[in-house]
């Protein structure tokens, strides 16, 4: 894999233009999509605020940010398979000499750009409720970036193995529930039994959330979970590139 990556003259120009193509054009011409991906975290924020009388609002804000990024990444299951199977855009790119890692980066960073309006809103709320010190804020940004890459890799792997677009939307929604609703994003991770917590670590959202909640609650970081996020950020793209179907 490493020797293969060395051979690739990484085409950043394509990645940049793909971010514009896939991220910016969707924000510019489809703001309704941005709103639709914000609807769930904002609704949960509202309910959590009501039910806990504001005491868990911190978790809802922090978890909401991870949820926006992960959900946007996972909706790429639908987009990637639609671009591949229906629009044949992937076929066009394969014969143009694009490497899957460039495509993966383009989609990941495009998704990150697409997530920005929602993230900015939650960052504003975070500062408004005085959640963020400079340290937690920077750790949050790092974790969001890592989660975006690992989650998009999962989306790419799943989407590239699909033979029919019709299954993609359902699978994307299912993955979204498994990878963002079950993990401790909107609730304190300490509520979870240890076995359940460890079994949910496969979702990049889990270690990222536990790491950030550790800083939020205890004021100190448990780097074990950050290491897991980093390992997943390296491992998932490698697995996706190895097992994903790029050519026909």
């Amino acid at each position: 894999m490493v020797s293969r990556l060395k051979r690739i003259n990484f085409n950043w120009k394509f990645v940049l233009v793909y971010i514009w193509f896939y991220g910016y054009s969707f924000i510019k011409r489809g703001p309704i999509y941005v709103l639709s991906y914000l609807a769930l975290p904002l609704s949960l924020l509202f309910f959590i605020y009501l039910i806990t009388k504001g005491s868990l609002i911190y978790f809802a804000i922090l978890g909401g940010m991870i949820s926006i990024v992960t959900n946007n990444a996972l909706t790429a299951v639908g987009d990637i398979s639609f671009f591949k199977l229906e629009l044949k855009i992937q076929e066009l790119l394969v014969s143009a000499g694009v490497y899957p890692i460039e495509y993966l980066f383009g989609i990941s960073l495009g998704n990150l750009l697409f997530s920005l309006p929602g993230l900015l809103l939650f960052i504003f709320l975070g500062f408004f409720y005085k959640i963020f010190g400079i340290s937690l804020f920077l750790w949050t940004l790092l974790n969001l970036f890592l989660v975006m890459i690992s989650s998009t890799s999962i989306a790419y792997l799943v989407a590239s193995r699909l033979n029919h677009v019709r299954s993609s939307w359902g699978i994307g929604a299912l993955l979204s529930v498994i990878l963002t609703m079950l993990p401790p994003l909107y609730y304190p991770y300490k509520l979870l039994p240890t076995a359940a917590l460890y079994s949910l670590l496969f979702s990049p959202a889990t270690p990222a959330s536990v790491f950030l909640q550790g800083i939020l609650i205890n004021g100190r970081a448990n780097f074990f979970y950050l290491i897991i996020v980093i390992i997943e950020t390296i491992a998932y793209p490698i697995i996706a590139l190895k097992l994903g179907r790029w050519e026909s």
Binding site: L16, V17, K88, E91, L93, V94, S95, G97, E247, S248
Partner: protein, 283 residues
């Protein structure tokens, strides 16, 4: 070294469908054309030649490069536009073409400049910044023709480039293809397109090349003949067709007292195509 050379190229899909059956092809002209019926194997051939699909057996080379072994080298010199490619509705024609050109290694500035020029040339100047889902079907198709023209590739594969275009748009595309410096291999259902554009034509039936050569070479067996519709033993659908000399045709027409069901037409590539299909059906 041919531009496109295949030897005993065979493709069998996992479901058992044999799309190509020991296909032998040698294309050397600037614009070559592959014609054939639906399901004849044209798209499978183009996908193998453009390194999308691997053959089951046999060999294919693009300008001396093997489509399996040297696929990364081939991708640097070709541009391939798939038959069913469609634009992403929310992105504009300019974004599509620029994205494709940067994928091929253009700088962002050059990609934008070249994209604007080619889109204007193809009549999409006023629409280049609109979302693609606001464009007509023909305009959407032209986005991909623009990619091919702008790509500056040594060899361009176009799978049915003018399908769905109105006659004027088709002429615009033909004009742009003629001005291209690249070599072009295209597939088409339109015989007049092959006649107008291609220096070399290969007819594919059931995964094999049944005839190939220049238009004149392909038309040679029908030289001096006309097509008589409504008469003869060769049956295409509900229509009887015969290929006769002008004199024979005139005798037939007189004999049937100018029966309106019988008509005479000059022969064209379509007739070579029909005869090829009939011969394969007989086999």
């Amino acid at each position: 070294m041919g531009i496109v050379t295949t030897k005993n190229l065979t493709k069998v899909y996992p479901n058992g469908t044999k799309a190509l059956d020991k296909l032998n092809l040698d294309l050397n002209s600037r614009i070559s054309c592959i014609i054939g019926r639906n399901g004849a194997g044209k798209t499978t051939l183009i996908r193998i030649l453009s390194t999308q699909l691997r053959p089951t057996s046999g060999k294919a080379e693009i300008m001396g490069y093997d489509v399996v072994r040297d696929r990364e080298k081939i991708r640097k010199i070709i541009c391939s536009i798939p038959q069913e490619v469609k634009p992403v509705g929310i992105a504009s024609p300019l974004e599509h073409v620029a994205m494709y050109l940067t994928a091929r290694g253009f700088s962002i500035r050059d990609a934008l400049k070249v994209s604007r020029g080619v889109l204007t040339e193809l009549g999409l100047g006023h629409f280049m910044n609109k979302p693609s889902d606001e464009l007509s079907g023909g305009m959407k198709r032209k986005i991909f023709v623009a990619m091919a023209i702008a790509s500056n590739a040594d060899l361009v594969f176009l799978d049915e480039p003018t399908v769905g275009l109105d006659p004027i748009s088709r002429l615009e595309v033909w004009g742009a293809l003629r001005r291209l410096r690249s070599r072009v291999v295209l597939t088409t259902h339109y015989m007049e397109e092959a006649e107008a554009l291609c220096e070399e034509i290969a007819i594919i039936e059931k995964g094999k090349v049944v005839r190939s050569g220049s238009l004149e070479e392909l038309m040679e067996p029908l030289k001096g003949k006309v097509r008589v519709e409504g008469y003869g033993e060769m049956k295409i659908g509900s229509m009887n067709i015969a290929y006769l000399s002008k004199e024979e045709a005139k005798i037939i027409l007189d004999k049937y007292n100018n029966d309106r069901r019988i008509s005479i037409k000059p022969v064209s590539l379509e007739d070579v195509f029909i005869l090829s299909g009939v011969e394969v059906e007989k086999d």
